[in-house]
Protein backbone atom coordinates (compact mmCIF):
# COMPACT_ATOMS: atom_id res chain seq x y z
CA UNK A 1 0.00 0.00 0.00
CA UNK A 2 1.31 3.44 -0.88
CA UNK A 3 0.91 6.15 1.70
CA UNK A 4 -1.68 8.91 1.36
CA UNK A 5 0.92 11.54 2.16
CA UNK A 6 4.52 10.68 1.42
CA UNK A 7 7.36 13.01 2.30
CA UNK A 8 10.65 11.69 0.96
CA UNK A 9 14.06 13.15 1.73
CA UNK A 10 12.82 16.67 2.44
CA UNK A 11 15.74 19.03 2.99
CA UNK A 12 15.68 22.73 3.71
CA UNK A 13 18.27 25.30 4.70
CA UNK A 14 18.14 29.03 5.25
CA UNK A 15 21.45 30.49 4.17
CA UNK A 16 24.15 28.47 5.86
CA UNK A 17 21.89 26.87 8.49
CA UNK A 18 20.40 23.51 7.61
CA UNK A 19 16.97 23.33 9.18
CA UNK A 20 15.70 20.03 7.78
CA UNK A 21 18.10 17.25 6.94
CA UNK A 22 16.30 14.74 4.75
CA UNK A 23 12.99 14.00 6.44
CA UNK A 24 10.95 10.95 5.43
CA UNK A 25 7.39 10.61 6.64
CA UNK A 26 4.50 8.52 5.35
CA UNK A 27 0.97 9.13 6.59
CA UNK A 28 -2.00 6.88 5.89
CA UNK A 29 -5.43 8.14 4.86
CA UNK A 30 -7.44 9.25 7.88
CA UNK A 31 -4.45 9.08 10.18
CA UNK A 32 -3.61 11.68 12.84
CA UNK A 33 0.15 12.12 13.12
CA UNK A 34 1.87 14.51 15.54
CA UNK A 35 5.21 16.18 14.96
CA UNK A 36 6.61 16.48 18.43
CA UNK A 37 9.80 18.33 19.24
CA UNK A 38 11.32 21.33 20.98
CA UNK A 39 11.04 24.84 19.59
CA UNK A 40 13.36 25.39 16.63
CA UNK A 41 13.65 21.73 15.56
CA UNK A 42 12.01 22.40 12.18
CA UNK A 43 8.37 21.41 12.74
CA UNK A 44 6.90 24.54 11.20
CA UNK A 45 9.37 24.37 8.32
CA UNK A 46 8.27 20.82 7.50
CA UNK A 47 4.61 21.82 7.71
CA UNK A 48 5.17 24.78 5.38
CA UNK A 49 6.83 22.50 2.86
CA UNK A 50 3.81 20.20 2.87
CA UNK A 51 1.46 23.20 2.53
CA UNK A 52 3.48 24.58 -0.38
CA UNK A 53 4.36 27.80 1.44
CA UNK A 54 8.02 26.83 1.29
CA UNK A 55 9.90 24.93 -1.39
CA UNK A 56 12.24 22.17 -0.17
CA UNK A 57 15.86 22.32 -1.36
CA UNK A 58 15.66 18.61 -2.08
CA UNK A 59 13.10 15.82 -1.71
CA UNK A 60 9.51 15.13 -2.72
CA UNK A 61 6.03 15.50 -1.34
CA UNK A 62 3.34 13.17 -2.68
CA UNK A 63 -0.31 13.47 -1.77
CA UNK A 64 -3.00 11.03 -2.83
CA UNK A 65 -0.81 9.60 -5.56
CA UNK A 66 0.29 12.93 -7.05
CA UNK A 67 3.65 14.64 -6.77
CA UNK A 68 2.84 18.09 -5.37
CA UNK A 69 6.40 19.19 -4.60
CA UNK A 70 6.24 22.09 -7.07
CA UNK A 71 2.53 22.80 -6.93
CA UNK A 72 1.51 26.22 -5.56
CA UNK A 73 -0.40 26.18 -2.26
CA UNK A 74 -3.77 27.18 -3.70
CA UNK A 75 -3.82 24.09 -5.91
CA UNK A 76 -2.90 21.56 -3.21
CA UNK A 77 -6.05 20.93 -1.20
CA UNK A 78 -4.00 21.14 1.97
CA UNK A 79 -5.58 23.16 4.78
CA UNK A 80 -3.57 24.91 7.47
CA UNK A 81 -4.48 26.08 10.96
CA UNK A 82 -1.77 28.62 11.72
CA UNK A 83 -0.21 29.02 15.13
CA UNK A 84 -1.39 32.65 15.21
CA UNK A 85 -4.72 31.59 13.62
CA UNK A 86 -4.28 34.24 10.88
CA UNK A 87 -8.00 35.08 10.78
CA UNK A 88 -8.97 37.81 8.33
CA UNK A 89 -9.50 40.88 10.51
CA UNK A 90 -11.72 42.67 7.98
CA UNK A 91 -14.22 39.80 7.81
CA UNK A 92 -16.66 38.51 10.42
CA UNK A 93 -16.78 34.93 11.67
CA UNK A 94 -19.08 33.58 8.93
CA UNK A 95 -17.16 35.44 6.19
CA UNK A 96 -13.89 33.99 7.45
CA UNK A 97 -15.29 30.47 7.23
CA UNK A 98 -16.83 31.18 3.83
CA UNK A 99 -13.60 32.62 2.42
CA UNK A 100 -12.18 29.45 0.92
CA UNK A 101 -15.48 28.30 -0.55
CA UNK A 102 -16.14 31.70 -2.14
CA UNK A 103 -12.57 31.90 -3.45
CA UNK A 104 -13.01 28.51 -5.09
CA UNK A 105 -16.22 29.63 -6.74
CA UNK A 106 -18.79 27.80 -4.62
CA UNK A 107 -22.19 29.44 -4.90
CA UNK A 108 -23.59 31.73 -2.22
CA UNK A 109 -26.32 29.39 -0.96
CA UNK A 110 -24.09 26.34 -0.92
CA UNK A 111 -21.30 28.08 0.96
CA UNK A 112 -23.76 29.57 3.43
CA UNK A 113 -24.98 26.05 4.19
CA UNK A 114 -21.41 24.80 4.63
CA UNK A 115 -20.56 27.76 6.88
CA UNK A 116 -23.59 26.93 9.01
CA UNK A 117 -22.61 23.31 9.25
CA UNK A 118 -18.99 23.93 10.21
CA UNK A 119 -19.76 26.72 12.66
CA UNK A 120 -22.22 24.36 14.33
CA UNK A 121 -19.59 21.61 14.39
CA UNK A 122 -17.21 23.88 16.30
CA UNK A 123 -20.10 25.21 18.40
CA UNK A 124 -19.90 28.79 17.20
CA UNK A 125 -23.17 29.01 15.29
CA UNK A 126 -24.39 31.79 17.55
CA UNK A 127 -21.36 34.02 16.82
CA UNK A 128 -21.55 33.99 13.00
CA UNK A 129 -21.99 37.74 12.67
CA UNK A 130 -19.34 38.78 15.18
CA UNK A 131 -16.13 40.46 14.08
CA UNK A 132 -13.27 38.04 14.79
CA UNK A 133 -11.55 40.61 17.02
CA UNK A 134 -14.46 40.28 19.46
CA UNK A 135 -13.75 36.58 20.08
CA UNK A 136 -11.73 34.93 22.84
CA UNK A 137 -8.58 32.96 22.00
CA UNK A 138 -10.41 29.65 22.16
CA UNK A 139 -13.19 30.90 19.91
CA UNK A 140 -10.72 32.30 17.36
CA UNK A 141 -9.02 28.92 17.37
CA UNK A 142 -12.32 27.22 16.50
CA UNK A 143 -12.98 29.69 13.70
CA UNK A 144 -9.54 28.87 12.29
CA UNK A 145 -10.35 25.15 12.39
CA UNK A 146 -13.80 25.66 10.84
CA UNK A 147 -12.33 27.88 8.12
CA UNK A 148 -9.70 25.30 7.20
CA UNK A 149 -12.17 22.38 7.24
CA UNK A 150 -14.98 24.11 5.35
CA UNK A 151 -13.22 23.57 2.00
CA UNK A 152 -12.87 19.84 2.84
CA UNK A 153 -9.10 19.65 2.34
CA UNK A 154 -7.47 16.29 1.63
CA UNK A 155 -5.04 16.98 4.42
CA UNK A 156 -5.19 19.31 7.42
CA UNK A 157 -2.03 20.74 8.98
CA UNK A 158 -2.20 22.26 12.45
CA UNK A 159 0.74 24.26 13.81
CA UNK A 160 0.63 24.26 17.62
CA UNK A 161 -3.04 25.26 17.52
CA UNK A 162 -3.53 25.11 21.28
CA UNK A 163 -0.27 26.64 22.48
CA UNK A 164 -1.92 29.98 23.29
CA UNK A 165 -4.78 28.48 25.29
CA UNK A 166 -4.84 27.77 28.99
CA UNK A 167 -4.61 24.20 30.19
CA UNK A 168 -8.25 23.54 30.99
CA UNK A 169 -9.50 24.86 27.67
CA UNK A 170 -6.72 23.06 25.82
CA UNK A 171 -7.69 19.65 27.17
CA UNK A 172 -11.30 20.15 26.11
CA UNK A 173 -10.27 21.29 22.64
CA UNK A 174 -7.93 18.34 22.16
CA UNK A 175 -10.75 15.86 22.62
CA UNK A 176 -13.15 17.92 20.53
CA UNK A 177 -10.74 18.33 17.62
CA UNK A 178 -9.90 14.66 17.61
CA UNK A 179 -13.58 13.70 17.53
CA UNK A 180 -14.34 16.22 14.78
CA UNK A 181 -11.50 14.99 12.55
CA UNK A 182 -12.51 11.39 13.11
CA UNK A 183 -16.11 12.15 12.14
CA UNK A 184 -15.00 13.88 8.96
CA UNK A 185 -12.33 11.27 8.24
CA UNK A 186 -9.76 14.02 7.75
CA UNK A 187 -6.07 13.12 7.57
CA UNK A 188 -4.10 15.47 9.81
CA UNK A 189 -0.58 16.42 10.81
CA UNK A 190 -0.49 18.12 14.15
CA UNK A 191 2.54 20.06 15.37
CA UNK A 192 3.17 20.39 19.07
CA UNK A 193 5.97 20.75 21.56
CA UNK A 194 3.74 19.36 24.31
CA UNK A 195 4.38 15.62 24.77
CA UNK A 196 1.20 15.01 26.75
CA UNK A 197 -0.83 16.55 23.95
CA UNK A 198 0.92 14.33 21.41
CA UNK A 199 0.42 11.20 23.53
CA UNK A 200 -3.29 11.87 24.06
CA UNK A 201 -4.27 12.78 20.51
CA UNK A 202 -2.12 10.92 18.02
CA UNK A 203 -2.38 7.71 16.06
CA UNK A 204 1.35 8.06 15.60
CA UNK A 205 4.00 10.45 16.85
CA UNK A 206 7.09 11.65 15.00
CA UNK A 207 9.62 12.87 17.54
CA UNK A 208 11.74 15.54 15.86
CA UNK A 209 15.15 16.75 16.89
CA UNK A 210 17.52 19.04 15.01
CA UNK A 211 15.69 18.79 11.70
CA UNK A 212 15.27 15.01 11.69
CA UNK A 213 12.66 12.52 12.84
CA UNK A 214 14.26 10.44 15.60
CA UNK A 215 11.37 8.17 16.36
CA UNK A 216 8.16 7.47 14.49
CA UNK A 217 5.67 5.22 16.21
CA UNK A 218 2.43 4.87 18.15
CA UNK A 219 2.22 6.82 21.41
CA UNK A 220 2.60 3.50 23.22
CA UNK A 221 5.79 2.61 21.33
CA UNK A 222 7.28 6.08 21.65
CA UNK A 223 6.65 6.07 25.37
CA UNK A 224 7.67 2.56 26.28
CA UNK A 225 10.59 2.05 23.87
CA UNK A 226 11.91 5.46 22.75
CA UNK A 227 14.35 4.96 19.89
CA UNK A 228 16.94 7.52 21.00
CA UNK A 229 18.07 9.17 24.24
CA UNK A 230 16.54 12.40 22.94
CA UNK A 231 13.13 10.80 22.43
CA UNK A 232 13.45 9.25 25.87
CA UNK A 233 14.21 12.57 27.48
CA UNK A 234 11.58 14.50 25.55
CA UNK A 235 8.69 12.13 26.15
CA UNK A 236 7.83 11.31 29.72
CA UNK A 237 10.08 11.08 32.77
CA UNK A 238 12.93 8.65 33.36
CA UNK A 239 15.96 7.95 35.52
CA UNK A 240 19.13 7.76 33.47
CA UNK A 241 22.54 6.41 34.36
CA UNK A 242 25.77 5.89 32.41
CA UNK A 243 27.43 2.49 32.36
CA UNK A 244 29.83 0.16 30.61
CA UNK A 245 28.96 -3.28 29.26
CA UNK A 246 30.93 -6.01 31.05
CA UNK A 247 29.16 -9.05 29.68
CA UNK A 248 26.94 -9.67 26.66
CA UNK A 249 25.19 -12.98 26.07
CA UNK A 250 22.06 -14.05 24.16
CA UNK A 251 20.61 -10.55 24.00
CA UNK A 252 21.22 -9.97 27.69
CA UNK A 253 23.73 -7.45 29.03
CA UNK A 254 25.48 -7.02 32.31
CA UNK A 255 26.34 -3.35 32.78
CA UNK A 256 28.65 -1.81 35.34
CA UNK A 257 27.06 1.40 36.68
CA UNK A 258 27.57 3.74 39.63
CA UNK A 259 24.68 1.87 41.27
CA UNK A 260 26.38 -1.47 40.83
CA UNK A 261 25.90 -4.14 38.19
CA UNK A 262 22.56 -3.99 36.40
CA UNK A 263 21.08 -6.31 33.83
CA UNK A 264 19.48 -5.10 30.61
CA UNK A 265 18.17 -6.53 27.33
CA UNK A 266 20.23 -5.78 24.20
CA UNK A 267 23.38 -6.64 22.33
CA UNK A 268 26.51 -4.51 22.68
CA UNK A 269 30.16 -5.47 22.58
CA UNK A 270 31.67 -5.85 26.04
CA UNK A 271 33.42 -2.61 26.95
CA UNK A 272 30.92 -0.38 25.11
CA UNK A 273 29.82 2.72 27.00
CA UNK A 274 26.03 2.81 27.24
CA UNK A 275 23.23 4.89 28.69
CA UNK A 276 20.66 3.05 30.79
CA UNK A 277 17.22 4.35 31.66
CA UNK A 278 14.06 3.26 33.41
CA UNK A 279 10.58 4.84 33.52
CA UNK A 280 9.45 5.87 37.02
CA UNK A 281 6.27 3.76 37.10
CA UNK A 282 8.35 0.65 36.33
CA UNK A 283 10.29 0.94 39.58
CA UNK A 284 8.83 -0.85 42.59
CA UNK A 285 9.62 0.49 46.03
CA UNK A 286 10.11 -1.88 48.95
CA UNK A 287 9.87 -5.67 49.00
CA UNK A 288 11.91 -7.93 46.79
CA UNK A 289 11.56 -9.14 43.22
CA UNK A 290 13.21 -10.46 40.11
CA UNK A 291 15.45 -8.28 37.95
CA UNK A 292 17.53 -5.31 38.97
CA UNK A 293 17.63 -4.25 42.58
CA UNK A 294 19.36 -1.35 44.31
CA UNK A 295 19.23 0.25 47.72
CA UNK A 296 18.90 4.06 47.69
CA UNK A 297 18.19 6.82 50.22
CA UNK A 298 14.88 8.68 49.84
CA UNK A 299 15.29 12.43 49.28
CA UNK A 300 11.78 13.65 48.62
CA UNK A 301 8.15 12.59 48.32
CA UNK A 302 5.91 14.62 46.00
CA UNK A 303 2.20 14.02 46.26
CA UNK A 304 0.48 14.52 42.87
CA UNK A 305 -3.06 13.39 43.46
CA UNK A 306 -3.52 10.11 41.68
CA UNK A 307 0.19 9.35 41.84
CA UNK A 308 3.07 9.91 44.22
CA UNK A 309 6.59 10.68 43.06
CA UNK A 310 9.46 9.39 45.19
CA UNK A 311 12.89 10.84 44.59
CA UNK A 312 16.01 8.90 45.54
CA UNK A 313 19.68 9.71 45.45
CA UNK A 314 21.67 7.02 43.72
CA UNK A 315 25.45 6.75 43.95
CA UNK A 316 27.44 9.65 42.40
CA UNK A 317 24.43 11.92 43.04
CA UNK A 318 22.46 10.32 40.18
CA UNK A 319 18.76 10.96 40.86
CA UNK A 320 16.36 8.04 40.71
CA UNK A 321 12.66 8.64 40.30
CA UNK A 322 9.88 6.21 41.16
CA UNK A 323 6.19 6.82 40.67
CA UNK A 324 3.71 4.79 42.72
CA UNK A 325 -0.03 4.89 43.11
CA UNK A 326 0.15 4.53 46.87
CA UNK A 327 2.94 5.07 49.37
CA UNK A 328 4.58 1.93 50.74
CA UNK A 329 4.14 1.45 54.51
CA UNK A 330 7.00 2.03 56.92
CA UNK A 331 9.05 5.08 57.80
CA UNK A 332 9.47 7.43 54.86
CA UNK A 333 11.64 10.15 56.32
CA UNK A 334 14.11 11.64 53.87
CA UNK A 335 17.34 9.72 54.25
CA UNK A 336 15.64 6.38 54.79
CA UNK A 337 17.30 3.67 52.66
CA UNK A 338 14.73 1.80 50.62
CA UNK A 339 15.08 -1.19 48.30
CA UNK A 340 14.08 -0.50 44.67
CA UNK A 341 13.68 -3.07 41.94
CA UNK A 342 12.48 -3.32 38.37
CA UNK A 343 12.26 -5.94 35.64
CA UNK A 344 15.15 -6.48 33.25
CA UNK A 345 12.87 -5.94 30.24
CA UNK A 346 11.98 -2.46 31.57
CA UNK A 347 15.59 -1.33 31.34
CA UNK A 348 16.19 0.84 28.28
CA UNK A 349 19.68 0.78 26.75
CA UNK A 350 21.28 3.24 24.31
CA UNK A 351 24.76 3.69 22.96
CA UNK A 352 26.26 6.38 25.21
CA UNK A 353 25.75 9.87 23.79
CA UNK A 354 29.06 11.54 23.01
CA UNK A 355 29.19 13.75 26.07
CA UNK A 356 28.70 10.77 28.39
CA UNK A 357 31.49 8.87 26.61
CA UNK A 358 33.87 11.75 27.26
CA UNK A 359 32.94 11.99 30.94
Amino acid sequence: MTAFLDIAGAEKGFGATRVLGGVDLAVARGEFVSLLGPSGCGKTTLLRIVAGLLRPDRGHVRLDGEDITRRPPHKRDVGVVFQSYALFPHLNVAENVAFGLRAQGTGKAESAAAVDRFLTLVQLGHLADRPVSALSGGQQQRVAVARALAVRPKLLLLDEPFSALDRKLREGMQIELRRLLRELGTTAIFVTHDQEEALTMSDRIAVMHGGAIEHLGTPEEVYSRPATPFALEFVGLSSRLPGRVVESMNGLLMVETPLGRLRAPGSFLPGSPVLLAVRPERIRVGGTGEGNAVLAPLTDVVFQGARVQMHFAGADGLPLLAEVSELPSGHLRPGAELPLHWAVRDMLVYPAPDRAAVA
Binding site: H74, S84, A86, F88, F99
Partner: protein, 276 residues
Protein backbone atom coordinates in the same frame (compact mmCIF):
# COMPACT_ATOMS: atom_id res chain seq x y z
CA UNK B 1 -11.07 60.94 34.86
CA UNK B 2 -12.56 64.34 34.05
CA UNK B 3 -9.31 65.94 35.03
CA UNK B 4 -7.42 63.86 32.48
CA UNK B 5 -9.85 64.77 29.72
CA UNK B 6 -9.47 68.44 30.61
CA UNK B 7 -5.70 68.15 30.36
CA UNK B 8 -5.99 66.47 26.99
CA UNK B 9 -8.28 69.20 25.75
CA UNK B 10 -5.89 71.79 27.09
CA UNK B 11 -2.92 70.26 25.32
CA UNK B 12 -4.68 70.76 21.97
CA UNK B 13 -5.15 74.45 22.65
CA UNK B 14 -1.92 75.75 21.01
CA UNK B 15 -2.71 73.87 17.82
CA UNK B 16 -6.30 75.10 17.83
CA UNK B 17 -5.24 78.71 18.36
CA UNK B 18 -2.57 78.45 15.69
CA UNK B 19 -4.94 77.00 13.09
CA UNK B 20 -7.60 79.52 14.02
CA UNK B 21 -5.31 82.51 13.46
CA UNK B 22 -3.30 81.20 10.52
CA UNK B 23 -5.92 79.21 8.67
CA UNK B 24 -9.56 79.65 9.70
CA UNK B 25 -9.59 83.44 9.96
CA UNK B 26 -7.98 84.11 6.54
CA UNK B 27 -10.27 81.49 5.03
CA UNK B 28 -13.28 83.25 6.49
CA UNK B 29 -11.98 86.58 5.18
CA UNK B 30 -11.58 85.01 1.74
CA UNK B 31 -15.10 83.62 1.84
CA UNK B 32 -16.46 86.99 2.96
CA UNK B 33 -14.54 88.79 0.23
CA UNK B 34 -15.93 86.44 -2.41
CA UNK B 35 -19.53 87.29 -1.52
CA UNK B 36 -19.14 91.04 -0.92
CA UNK B 37 -19.85 93.36 -3.81
CA UNK B 38 -20.20 97.16 -4.01
CA UNK B 39 -23.81 96.94 -2.78
CA UNK B 40 -23.26 94.43 0.04
CA UNK B 41 -23.89 90.68 -0.11
CA UNK B 42 -23.75 89.16 -3.60
CA UNK B 43 -23.09 85.93 -5.46
CA UNK B 44 -22.08 87.84 -8.58
CA UNK B 45 -18.44 86.65 -8.69
CA UNK B 46 -19.62 83.03 -8.68
CA UNK B 47 -22.40 83.44 -11.26
CA UNK B 48 -20.10 85.48 -13.48
CA UNK B 49 -17.36 82.86 -13.25
CA UNK B 50 -19.61 79.86 -13.74
CA UNK B 51 -21.57 81.32 -16.64
CA UNK B 52 -18.44 81.45 -18.78
CA UNK B 53 -17.85 78.19 -20.67
CA UNK B 54 -14.11 78.84 -20.75
CA UNK B 55 -14.06 78.70 -16.94
CA UNK B 56 -15.73 75.29 -16.99
CA UNK B 57 -12.80 74.22 -19.12
CA UNK B 58 -10.50 75.44 -16.36
CA UNK B 59 -12.40 73.45 -13.75
CA UNK B 60 -12.21 70.38 -15.98
CA UNK B 61 -8.44 70.92 -16.46
CA UNK B 62 -7.96 71.18 -12.72
CA UNK B 63 -9.87 68.00 -11.91
CA UNK B 64 -8.46 65.98 -14.82
CA UNK B 65 -4.83 66.81 -14.08
CA UNK B 66 -5.27 66.23 -10.34
CA UNK B 67 -7.07 62.96 -11.03
CA UNK B 68 -4.39 61.76 -13.44
CA UNK B 69 -1.60 62.73 -11.07
CA UNK B 70 -3.33 60.88 -8.22
CA UNK B 71 -3.90 57.81 -10.39
CA UNK B 72 -0.28 57.82 -11.59
CA UNK B 73 0.94 58.10 -8.01
CA UNK B 74 -1.33 55.23 -6.93
CA UNK B 75 -0.27 52.91 -9.75
CA UNK B 76 3.44 53.60 -9.21
CA UNK B 77 3.28 54.07 -5.45
CA UNK B 78 1.28 51.01 -4.37
CA UNK B 79 3.89 48.42 -5.44
CA UNK B 80 6.69 50.62 -4.12
CA UNK B 81 4.98 50.79 -0.73
CA UNK B 82 4.90 46.99 -0.67
CA UNK B 83 8.51 46.66 -1.74
CA UNK B 84 9.33 49.00 1.12
CA UNK B 85 7.39 46.92 3.64
CA UNK B 86 9.05 43.68 2.45
CA UNK B 87 12.57 45.07 2.26
CA UNK B 88 14.87 44.54 5.23
CA UNK B 89 17.98 46.17 6.59
CA UNK B 90 20.09 48.19 4.19
CA UNK B 91 17.74 47.81 1.24
CA UNK B 92 14.89 49.24 3.27
CA UNK B 93 16.99 52.14 4.56
CA UNK B 94 18.10 53.03 1.03
CA UNK B 95 14.56 52.81 -0.33
CA UNK B 96 13.10 54.87 2.48
CA UNK B 97 15.82 57.48 2.13
CA UNK B 98 15.30 57.74 -1.62
CA UNK B 99 11.63 58.41 -1.02
CA UNK B 100 11.99 60.88 1.82
CA UNK B 101 15.12 62.76 0.74
CA UNK B 102 13.52 64.32 -2.39
CA UNK B 103 11.01 66.00 -0.07
CA UNK B 104 13.83 68.23 1.09
CA UNK B 105 14.40 69.52 -2.44
CA UNK B 106 12.29 72.59 -3.16
CA UNK B 107 9.45 72.20 -5.61
CA UNK B 108 10.85 74.97 -7.85
CA UNK B 109 14.15 73.16 -8.17
CA UNK B 110 12.36 69.91 -8.98
CA UNK B 111 10.16 71.57 -11.58
CA UNK B 112 13.23 73.03 -13.29
CA UNK B 113 14.87 69.64 -13.17
CA UNK B 114 11.86 68.16 -14.91
CA UNK B 115 12.14 70.83 -17.58
CA UNK B 116 15.59 69.43 -18.33
CA UNK B 117 14.41 65.83 -18.20
CA UNK B 118 11.41 66.39 -20.46
CA UNK B 119 12.92 68.66 -23.09
CA UNK B 120 13.15 67.60 -26.72
CA UNK B 121 16.69 66.22 -26.40
CA UNK B 122 16.20 65.02 -22.81
CA UNK B 123 16.55 61.49 -21.43
CA UNK B 124 12.83 60.59 -21.48
CA UNK B 125 12.51 61.47 -25.15
CA UNK B 126 15.68 59.54 -25.93
CA UNK B 127 14.36 56.50 -24.06
CA UNK B 128 11.00 56.66 -25.85
CA UNK B 129 12.75 56.93 -29.23
CA UNK B 130 14.91 53.95 -28.34
CA UNK B 131 11.79 51.77 -27.99
CA UNK B 132 11.22 52.30 -31.72
CA UNK B 133 7.54 53.01 -31.18
CA UNK B 134 7.81 56.64 -32.23
CA UNK B 135 8.47 58.09 -35.66
CA UNK B 136 9.64 61.40 -34.31
CA UNK B 137 10.48 62.62 -30.80
CA UNK B 138 7.21 63.03 -28.88
CA UNK B 139 6.71 66.42 -27.34
CA UNK B 140 6.59 66.23 -23.56
CA UNK B 141 7.61 69.56 -22.11
CA UNK B 142 4.75 72.06 -22.05
CA UNK B 143 2.19 69.26 -22.53
CA UNK B 144 -0.29 67.82 -20.09
CA UNK B 145 1.54 64.48 -20.10
CA UNK B 146 4.73 66.21 -19.01
CA UNK B 147 2.83 68.08 -16.33
CA UNK B 148 1.26 64.89 -14.96
CA UNK B 149 4.61 63.07 -14.96
CA UNK B 150 6.41 65.93 -13.23
CA UNK B 151 3.70 66.48 -10.65
CA UNK B 152 3.38 62.76 -9.92
CA UNK B 153 7.10 62.67 -9.23
CA UNK B 154 6.83 65.50 -6.74
CA UNK B 155 3.80 64.10 -4.92
CA UNK B 156 4.69 60.39 -5.04
CA UNK B 157 6.03 60.23 -1.44
CA UNK B 158 2.65 61.40 -0.18
CA UNK B 159 1.08 58.33 -1.78
CA UNK B 160 3.80 55.85 -0.83
CA UNK B 161 4.24 56.71 2.84
CA UNK B 162 0.63 56.31 4.02
CA UNK B 163 0.25 53.05 2.09
CA UNK B 164 3.57 51.79 3.45
CA UNK B 165 2.55 52.58 7.03
CA UNK B 166 -0.49 50.32 6.60
CA UNK B 167 1.14 47.65 4.40
CA UNK B 168 3.87 46.90 6.92
CA UNK B 169 1.19 46.07 9.50
CA UNK B 170 -0.54 43.49 7.29
CA UNK B 171 0.39 40.03 8.58
CA UNK B 172 1.95 38.03 5.71
CA UNK B 173 0.31 34.91 7.21
CA UNK B 174 -3.04 36.25 6.03
CA UNK B 175 -2.26 35.89 2.32
CA UNK B 176 -0.69 32.51 3.07
CA UNK B 177 -3.92 31.48 4.79
CA UNK B 178 -5.79 32.67 1.70
CA UNK B 179 -3.53 30.53 -0.49
CA UNK B 180 -4.10 27.39 1.58
CA UNK B 181 -7.84 28.03 1.29
CA UNK B 182 -7.54 27.83 -2.48
CA UNK B 183 -7.47 31.53 -3.41
CA UNK B 184 -5.41 32.42 -6.50
CA UNK B 185 -2.80 35.19 -6.18
CA UNK B 186 -5.21 37.68 -7.77
CA UNK B 187 -8.04 36.75 -5.38
CA UNK B 188 -5.66 36.99 -2.44
CA UNK B 189 -4.82 40.51 -3.51
CA UNK B 190 -8.41 41.55 -4.18
CA UNK B 191 -9.96 40.02 -1.07
CA UNK B 192 -7.20 40.30 1.53
CA UNK B 193 -4.38 42.69 0.70
CA UNK B 194 -6.38 45.43 -1.00
CA UNK B 195 -9.14 45.78 1.62
CA UNK B 196 -6.59 45.70 4.42
CA UNK B 197 -4.45 48.43 2.83
CA UNK B 198 -7.44 50.54 1.80
CA UNK B 199 -7.11 52.96 4.72
CA UNK B 200 -3.58 53.78 3.54
CA UNK B 201 -4.75 54.12 -0.05
CA UNK B 202 -7.48 56.52 1.03
CA UNK B 203 -5.06 58.76 2.92
CA UNK B 204 -2.64 58.59 0.00
CA UNK B 205 -5.36 59.65 -2.43
CA UNK B 206 -6.52 62.42 -0.12
CA UNK B 207 -2.95 63.73 0.21
CA UNK B 208 -1.94 63.60 -3.44
CA UNK B 209 -5.26 64.82 -4.75
CA UNK B 210 -5.45 67.83 -2.46
CA UNK B 211 -1.81 68.66 -3.23
CA UNK B 212 -2.16 68.30 -6.99
CA UNK B 213 -5.53 69.99 -7.32
CA UNK B 214 -4.05 73.12 -5.81
CA UNK B 215 -0.52 73.06 -7.28
CA UNK B 216 0.66 76.36 -8.66
CA UNK B 217 4.41 76.37 -9.22
CA UNK B 218 4.61 73.06 -11.10
CA UNK B 219 2.09 73.92 -13.86
CA UNK B 220 3.60 77.38 -14.15
CA UNK B 221 7.01 75.92 -14.92
CA UNK B 222 6.09 72.74 -16.79
CA UNK B 223 3.24 73.90 -19.01
CA UNK B 224 3.01 77.68 -18.79
CA UNK B 225 0.20 80.19 -19.03
CA UNK B 226 -1.65 78.55 -21.91
CA UNK B 227 -2.93 75.96 -19.52
CA UNK B 228 -5.00 77.36 -16.67
CA UNK B 229 -6.20 75.58 -13.55
CA UNK B 230 -8.22 76.99 -10.68
CA UNK B 231 -5.05 77.42 -8.66
CA UNK B 232 -3.10 79.28 -11.36
CA UNK B 233 -6.16 81.39 -12.13
CA UNK B 234 -6.49 82.30 -8.47
CA UNK B 235 -2.86 83.34 -8.42
CA UNK B 236 -3.24 85.40 -11.60
CA UNK B 237 -6.40 87.07 -10.31
CA UNK B 238 -4.67 88.30 -7.22
CA UNK B 239 -1.19 88.97 -8.59
CA UNK B 240 -1.77 90.08 -12.20
CA UNK B 241 -5.39 91.04 -12.66
CA UNK B 242 -5.87 92.53 -9.21
CA UNK B 243 -9.39 91.07 -9.24
CA UNK B 244 -9.84 90.07 -5.61
CA UNK B 245 -13.48 89.09 -6.00
CA UNK B 246 -12.66 86.66 -8.82
CA UNK B 247 -9.60 85.33 -6.98
CA UNK B 248 -11.56 84.75 -3.80
CA UNK B 249 -14.38 83.05 -5.66
CA UNK B 250 -12.04 80.67 -7.55
CA UNK B 251 -10.15 79.95 -4.34
CA UNK B 252 -13.37 79.02 -2.54
CA UNK B 253 -14.49 76.91 -5.51
CA UNK B 254 -11.16 75.11 -5.54
CA UNK B 255 -11.41 74.38 -1.85
CA UNK B 256 -14.99 73.14 -2.18
CA UNK B 257 -14.05 70.88 -5.09
CA UNK B 258 -11.03 69.43 -3.33
CA UNK B 259 -12.97 68.73 -0.15
CA UNK B 260 -15.84 67.19 -2.12
CA UNK B 261 -13.57 64.90 -4.10
CA UNK B 262 -11.54 63.81 -1.07
CA UNK B 263 -14.61 63.17 1.08
CA UNK B 264 -16.43 61.52 -1.83
CA UNK B 265 -13.58 59.18 -2.75
CA UNK B 266 -13.09 58.25 0.89
CA UNK B 267 -16.74 57.34 1.17
CA UNK B 268 -16.68 55.44 -2.11
CA UNK B 269 -13.52 53.53 -1.23
CA UNK B 270 -14.91 52.52 2.14
CA UNK B 271 -18.04 51.21 0.47
CA UNK B 272 -15.94 49.26 -2.00
CA UNK B 273 -13.88 47.85 0.85
CA UNK B 274 -16.97 46.71 2.66
CA UNK B 275 -18.44 45.11 -0.44
CA UNK B 276 -15.27 43.15 -1.27
Amino acid sequence: MTKRVDLFALSALPAVLYLLVIYAVPLLMLLTRSVTGAEGLTLAPYTAFLSDAFNWQIIANTLRVAGLVTLTCLVIGYPVAFALSWARGLAQAVLLLSIILPLSVGVVVKAFAWQIVLKRDGVVTAALMATGLFEEPPRLLFTETGLVLGAANVFLPFMILPIYSVAKLVDPRLTEAGATLGATPWKRFARITWPLTLPGVISGIAFTFSLSVSMYVIPSLLIGDRFQTLATLTGRSFLLMRNEALGSATAVLLLALAVAVVVGSTWFARRLGRAA
